[in-house]
Symmetry: C2
Subunit: 405 residues, 2 copies
């Protein structure tokens, strides 16, 4: 019975996923030298103790709990009041119009939104264009729903004019019968932001070739160096089927409440609600009012948070770039750095395990973001500033023990 399911589930492994460190078994590794003591840092996800949840989040949850029955059992797509509030705020942020009744759904995290959007759009055998590198769940979701991945390369290290997406490759993919293109902007794992020109070209190509789009803007509020950011949904020319995803789990450190949002084409939002009804019913009822605090932070709070992350980024870039042969692109938005190491005597998979054992530091191997990234790893630098820089020093010290002669 299980043969096709065995294959399907083999494709969606979680061994290297954030938060899963505790489940890994010990293995034989080529350990060189002594452990390097220091504060353990889990670079696989952000540290909400170092960068605390939005002020007022817990109180908003309390109010939801005290509201009782109407809040416990909202409509599947989220309570009306929450949808009206969130639609107005996201419409303002993304410079578009959002009908709270038909064009928005509240979900358990942005992961929930992404799952529902993919489930609503990907059928057996459908071709899905996926950026390499991009968020690891994009490929897993495509495979889970029976889709076929059509990779499109992003030449991120060679440009600072946008993300460097291979637009000719994208057009060729669209011409080959791709039904859906999904991508994160800012890009996960590189932190690259798509230029206005790239966004307009993507939107225009999608419209021309009747390709549906999912734009994951999870990190769109945390933009560094006052760079411009272009929302695809705000463009004049765009495809008929477009879903934009956002949520307060990252910059706002509200992941523990499991809240996200998706807005866009009503017929897809409708499907997403039908799917949510059998997946998990709704985003946690009492959590939903926490979205009142979203885009409603105290004056200056977001600027301060972004500046704190920019400062951590800068220190990490300085450390990384002082190491011979290490390549890294400056993060333009979000909390990720995607780092390429020079040749080593061990595989990146082993290096990640060795580093964790010797330094107490966890990083995510690059192959999670595309099969070709065998000498890359990703870090989430939303960490305690000092602990993060010290941790990176330790990682690079360990690297030198394995650098190929």
């Amino acid at each position: 019975m299980m043969s096709d399911l065995n294959e399907k589930f083999a494709q969606i492994g979680v061994e290297n996923a954030p938060g899963q460190e505790a489940r890994r078994k010990e293995e034989k590794l080529d350990i060189r030298g002594e452990p390097l003591p220091g504060i353990p840092v889990d670079f696989s996800h952000g540290d909400v103790d170092a960068h605390e949840p939005t002020p007022g989040a817990f109180e908003a949850f309390r109010k939801g709990f005290e509201r009782g029955a109407p809040q416990a059992y909202t409509e599947y797509r989220g309570g009306r009041h929450t949808r009206e509030d969130v639609a107005a705020k996201l419409a303002d942020f993304a410079a578009t119009a959002i009908d709270p009744d038909s064009e928005l759904i509240i979900t358990p995290g942005t992961q929930g939104a992404l799952f529902l959007a993919m489930g609503a759009l990907v059928g057996q055998g459908d071709k899905v264009a996926v950026v390499e590198p991009d968020y690891f769940a994009n490929r897993k979701l495509t495979l889970f729903f029976g889709g076929e991945i059509v990779p499109v390369r992003m030449n991120f290290p060679e440009t600072d004019m946008g993300a460097g997406l291979d637009l000719a490759g994208l057009e060729a993919a669209f011409k080959s019968g791709v039904k859906l293109f999904l991508f994160s902007n800012p890009n996960n794992p590189t932190g690259a932001i798509y230029s206005e020109s790239e966004i307009r070209t993507i939107a225009s190509l999608a419209r021309h070739h009747d390709v549906a789009l999912i734009v994951d803007e999870l990190y769109a509020r945390q933009i560094f160096d006052n760079r411009p950011y272009t929302h695809l949904c705000a463009q004049q020319e765009k495809p008929d089927t477009l879903i934009t995803i956002l949520g307060p789990s990252k910059t706002e450190s509200l992941s523990g409440f499991r809240l996200g949002a998706a807005f866009g084409s009503p017929h897809i939002i409708d499907r997403m609600e039908r799917l949510q009804a059998i997946v998990s019913l709704r985003a946690g009822g009492y959590s939903q009012p926490v979205l009142d605090t979203w885009f409603n932070e105290p004056h200056g709070w977001m600027e301060k948070r972004t500046a704190a992350h920019q400062a951590i980024r800068d220190d990490l870039l300085r450390i990384l770039r002082s190491t011979d042969g290490v390549k890294v692109r400056t993060t333009e938005g979000g909390s990720y750095l995607f780092i390429q190491l020079p040749p080593m005597d061990v595989s990146m998979q082993d290096f990640v395990k060795i580093t964790r054992r010797l330094t107490g530091v966890a990083v995510t191997p690059g192959t999670e973001f595309g099969p070709g990234f065998t000498d890359w790893f990703r870090i989430n630098f939303s960490q305690d500033h000092k602990a993060a820089t010290e941790a990176m020093e330790r990682v690079l010290t360990v690297f030198e023990r394995y650098r190929s002669a």
Copy 2:
């Protein structure tokens, strides 16, 4: 592109689902007589204001929030401490052994557990045996994952010796190549409890024919009249692949926290975790400690709650049975009554809409639980006692206006 997806999503409509009343559009109906004023009652789900969440639940959430980072980012299958605690309590309740490391997953509600279990077990074209009547999501999940429904009839009105499952029909279904059988016990919508003999036969047949089982025990803690309840997982002879689902959303009124649990075969729990990683990552991190209160209620609290529901049930049964021709089986466990009305001049679909308009009372049409139940409706009687009985009087008053001559 969307033709097969159109069909798929047409099969999983939410128009008649609990909590969705607010989204329904007004229609032309055969309205007879004046509205009957009274306290509005939404019988489509329980009222957590009338039967409040377990004492200490909110404080447990607060502790989770204050614990910060480790609680926000637990392992996908749930935090270790929570799993150890829940595994011990469920093992005790269900008289079985549960390894917290490999045999348990914490999910966003029991709906989340059911979705993950079905996703882990149902592939394209797999035959799935589904009881009629049973929880409406069972059929929708089968169809969403590409399975084929093989209905098995439950002759609930004609017996008080168990649920009255057609065991010969079940065996025939298993022989015809069914891969999975899922059922709720107590049954939703009838409140019937499977006898020990029925449970043993199901377990034995599943083992003999190598059929996987999902047993939804969501209401297993709310048993009336001190009836015996038999856990399938506690049987000596049972299939290799068995998942049992439980959660605190119903009797404990904790639905607003979105918590559930599934335990059983490690290879299926492993798949469920992989799937959860792309569905919604994990049950809300801060919510997970609310499970500390589960199976840990104050002395006498569960007995009192069960007695309160038994008293509401008894009053409703008295009212229903005093109406000529109405048929209803005594609920043995859970908060549902499944009610058959004599012939009417309007369809049940219309009657449900008419009733809501004339009385402010929402009920769920029987066809949600199986295509043949065209003259049935379901209520969840976890409501304010007085409001519930008054609401039922109004529903039956409206019924008399439509009773066929």
